[in-house]
Symmetry: C2
Subunit: 244 residues, 2 copies
């Protein structure tokens, strides 16, 4: 889903699918902007998106908000229930959304009978943790503009569909939402989005966003090249050291 160093090479082993081990549960509906859970509340269940989209964010004591991620159909959220800690995150329906949920007690009972469910959930959380690792790497080493390019690539690959002309069409992401993902102000997010729009990497309206994802990946590569030590492959210093 990511580009250059953050490429996750396709998994070499087949991952377990938690859904194939879980019984159906009651479906709950949330309207757009409705809160599914808020940080600090007791966390007893893990949730699965059936339809719609859910933003998971953290709000700090200064009411400044960080967007952790957006989840869509067939994706889980609220996994902190698995360690019995209160929610560290807030989950809000980004559009009209349906979810299913299972309590930790139910999950552990089922996992006791079907060890593959526990392995499936474990793999799911490892993947999530690896994606968070990508984010930390990007925060620590990328400019805001590069972070924005990665965000557009990632969201369009997750939520969009390819159209004829090498572009990906997806739902519009507000500049505010993007700024919370990038960790910058709305104004700065808008500035760099406008720049990508002027340069033809992205088009957006109230109804949709179109990302020219191949061109954007190429931009990221070129932009990397400018500053990279010529010909130095990824982490060669460590790979050399490991081989020694």
């Amino acid at each position: 889903m990511e580009t250059d160093t953050m490429t996750i090479v396709p998994a070499m082993k087949t991952l377990e699918d938690p859904l194939s081990h879980l019984p159906c549960s009651t479906i709950l509906g949330f309207r757009k902007k409705q809160v599914i859970f808020a940080q600090g509340q007791p966390s007893t269940s893990i949730y699965l998106v059936i339809s719609g989209k859910v933003k998971v964010c953290r709000v700090n004591e200064r009411l400044s908000e960080a967007l952790l991620d957006i989840y869509q159909a067939d994706e889980f959220f609220g996994e902190s229930a698995l360690i019995g800690e209160p929610h560290a995150e807030t989950a809000v329906a980004l559009e009209d959304t349906q979810v299913m949920s299972w309590t930790t007690a139910e999950l552990e009972r089922i996992a006791g009978e079907r060890p593959k469910l526990a392995i499936a959930l474990m793999q799911l959380v490892v993947q999530r943790s690896a994606e968070f690792g990508n984010r930390i790497e990007s925060f620590a080493t990328d400019s805001i503009q590069r972070r924005l390019s990665r965000a557009l690539i990632r969201f369009s690959e997750r939520f969009g569909h390819r159209t004829g002309d090498g572009a990906v069409q997806m739902m519009p992401l507000t500049h505010e939402l993007l700024s919370m993902y990038l960790g910058t102000s709305r104004e700065i997010a808008t500035h760099f989005l406008n720049q990508f729009r002027r340069d033809g990497y992205v088009r957006y309206s109230r109804r949709e966003m179109v990302v020219y994802v191949d061109a954007l990946k190429e931009w990221l590569k070129q932009e990397t090249g400018k500053k990279a030590i010529s010909g130095a492959p990824l982490a060669q210093k460590y790979i050399d050291a490991a081989a020694a």
Copy 2:
């Protein structure tokens, strides 16, 4: 381990300990600075630190390095083996270190017989993912100085021991290592460290680092208060919305 909004309230449920479900394995020794695995290499095993310390980092194509975390005795690393993807991280011994490792095949065989091992590993990864969430929140919403204060509090609570005078004594962290954790240059890390040293929040030498952790937590709180909307409790807007 974290402060204010990032406080993880003590777990309400008893977590499973993976170690109580794992047989002993061969102990491998690594000298200081030796690479345990490098990113891009096939990832087949999960590792446990027996003694010493291991830094887990990511190096991007411009050889700029992000420190994900430092692991110590009884902590696991290399969990991407659980999804069969090549290492996205590089692990290096920070001092002379001993580790044990188990292959994914072994783990899955044991987990099939002892479902609690899978649950234990799952909880461990959920906790790690929650800590990464703390980092993302801090990157997205904190100044570098606040990120540094959180890093000093977290590392001293993880690696140090309390001395008589409300201080925590721990191994010295180089300014370079801290800068890779904060996502800034070595110079800027040094600048803010010096500031904390002048103000009496930290003392360091080549041999040790002393963090006045209670005072530093108080600083973080005061510094938060300055910018906080008076009396606005954490995420009240979402909690109100959830109650509505």
